[in-house]
């Protein structure tokens, strides 16, 4: 007879499922990597030349933001996965397995985050190298910050999926959410150059916090600390809580709508 697995083993098995499917889809990994390299070595290098006149090294600034915005985009995918699983009837199977709904959300959010981390780890190492930063501990710390951001974004994506419950509407909302979290943040341009009205919003963005924290580690002359850490952790706490304890707990099998 089978038994009831422990909480930790359930979380691990859920993460493992995301990893198993990831390694079966190398095309997506290759595609994202090529996209990142073009953004970094074509777009950022070009804009950097324009910005040099202002005495600002845009390439270094952008390189960190590119990693953070890439993981943000990847972490958002988890919500689309839920709709796909619902459409294929896989959600009925997953909900019939011996773990609670909250654990399911935690496992999925962590799975999405680990999947994202695997995507961006080579990118982060490359960025540290081109930015002239060689401390493995610092790179590991940067990856930890990125991982925390990714769990929060995955939680946000799951929360939105549960609130919207319609694949087409979700696609539109998620595109806007991704645009808002990345563009209204200090990931790819400094806050001071943003429109004044958006600056306060961007300063509360978890993407800004994660970007600033990583820059403070990797790049000389950048600082970040308690404020950014609190914003990031609050964001993760809220969307993990909303997604798992509040919204997903109510979900049933069959169709979301």
């Amino acid at each position: 007879m089978s038994g009831k697995p422990s909480t930790l083993s359930v979380i691990w098995v859920l993460v493992e499922r995301d990893l198993r499917t990831l390694v079966k889809s190398p095309f997506i990994l290759i595609n994202r990597t090529i996209f990142f390299l073009i953004q970094l070595f074509v777009f950022a290098a070009l804009v950097s030349k324009l910005a040099t006149a202002l005495g600002f090294n845009y390439f270094d600034f952008y390189s960190v933001g590119a990693v953070v915005s890439t993981i943000t985009s990847i972490a958002f995918i988890i919500g689309e996965d839920l709709f796909e699983e619902e459409e294929l009837g896989l959600l009925d199977y997953l909900l019939s397995l011996p773990f609670g709904h909250s654990l399911f959300v935690i496992g999925r959010a962590l799975g999405g985050a680990v999947r994202g981390l695997i995507y961006v780890t080579p990118m982060m190492i490359l960025v540290a190298y081109v930015d002239g930063y060689f401390s493995p501990v610092g790179v590991a710390g940067s990856l930890a910050i990125i991982f925390v951001l990714a769990t929060g974004i995955s939680g946000l994506s799951i929360t939105l999926a549960m609130m919207i419950r319609n694949a087409n509407r979700f696609d539109i909302v998620i595109a806007l959410a991704e645009l808002a979290t990345v563009r209204v943040s200090a990931a790819i341009y400094p806050l001071v150059y943003m429109p004044k009205v958006l600056q306060p919003i961007a300063s509360y963005s978890p993407v800004t916090s994660a970007s600033d924290l990583v820059r403070a580690i990797v790049l000389p002359g950048y600082t970040a600390g308690a404020y950014e850490t609190v914003v990031l952790l609050l964001f993760v706490g809220i969307f993990f809580g909303l997604g798992s304890a509040f919204l997903f707990r109510k979900i049933e099998g069959g169709r979301f709508e």
Partner: protein, 308 residues
């Protein structure tokens, strides 16, 4: 034991399951029959905590499916009607993952996976992505999940759909084996021969309601006056019809050519007596055909359906 207590389930006003009360005993194979849309899958999903009952309660091995879903889910394994797994993965990966997530220890899991893949003849295809496999093979993998898990409550929804005859027989044997090891089996099927062969008891659902529950033999016997005896005689003896009709259980007797056709209850028990009646009137019986109600007749009777 599984107890359904006045269970109803509605979806946006549509009542898919209506006030179902029924018990499924330990270690029995319970056949759940019903036309498409009768509510079989909804009832199963309610038991498995995937759906919450709108009204009533399901108790599985003494645990409420609503109050203790985690415990109930740890007792149940489901083979879904349509295979439900990540089709990008191989059969071995799917079974490994399913075994792991349902708490089957690694040495046991590995052994069972090898056994089940071997029995289904899937060893050679075990590492192929399942989306490349045939419908029948996909269905075998869906069933294999439960055979690797070996849960206390095993649910099979149309387990032999898409399967060839040897595979069907294999699945039936494996389900029997599972029950013999201590599992209770809930078998949802549209195949009457499957339900008749496998089930200790059957429940017939229709339009969301449990229309009838009982042992197949008992249900067939409950259809009074539906046996048919056809006796081909050496000559037509018209008075035989009135003579035979004197027997209380006989509903109708008539000649069709040289064949005396008798519609009655308890045909098997009365057959020797009726042959004697024919002999006493000077007739010689050349052949006899006894047709008793099948589970299909029972199904059609209780669902109010007709064969087209």
């Amino acid at each position: 034991m599984i107890v359904f207590k006045s269970v109803s389930k509605s979806f946006k006003g549509f009542l898919a399951v209506k006030d179902v009360t029924c018990e499924i005993h330990d270690q029995e194979i319970f056949g759940l029959l019903g036309p498409n849309g009768a509510g079989k899958t909804t009832l199963i999903m309610t038991m498995a905590t995937v759906y919450r009952p709108t009204k009533g309660e399901v108790i599985v091995e003494g645990h409420s499916a609503s109050a203790e879903p985690g415990t109930v889910k740890s007792l149940i394994g489901i083979s879904f009607q349509d295979p439900k797994y990540d089709r990008i993965l191989s059969a071995r990966e799917i079974l490994e993952w399913h075994g792991k997530v349902t708490g089957v220890e690694k040495p046991v899991r590995d052994k069972r996976i090898d056994e089940v893949l071997g029995k289904f003849g899937l060893t050679a295809e075990a590492r192929k992505r399942t989306w490349t496999l045939s419908g029948g093979t996909k269905k075998k993998i869906e069933n294999a999940k439960v055979f690797v898990q070996r849960p206390k409550i095993a649910v099979f929804d149309e387990p032999t759909a898409y399967l060839d005859v040897p595979s069907r027989l294999m699945v039936w044997d494996m389900i029997d084996e599972l029950r013999d090891e201590g599992s209770t089996v809930l078998l949802a099927t549209n195949m009457m021969d499957e339900a008749d062969r496998m089930s200790d008891r059957v429940g017939i659902m229709n339009k969301g309601e449990m229309a009838q529950v009982g042992e197949p033999a008992g249900l067939k016997g409950s259809l009074k006056g539906r046996d048919v005896i056809e006796m081909t005689l050496d000559l037509v003896i018209p008075e035989l019809t009135s003579e035979v009709s004197k027997v209380e259980e006989v509903k109708e007797a008539r000649f069709e050519g040289d064949t005396l056709k008798i519609v009655l209850s308890n045909g098997r028990g009365l057959l020797p007596y009726l042959i004697n009646v024919v002999s006493a009137k000077g007739g010689k019986v050349q052949s006899v055909n006894l047709k008793e109600p099948s589970l299909e007749d029972v199904f059609l009777y209780y669902t109010g359906m007709k064969l087209s």
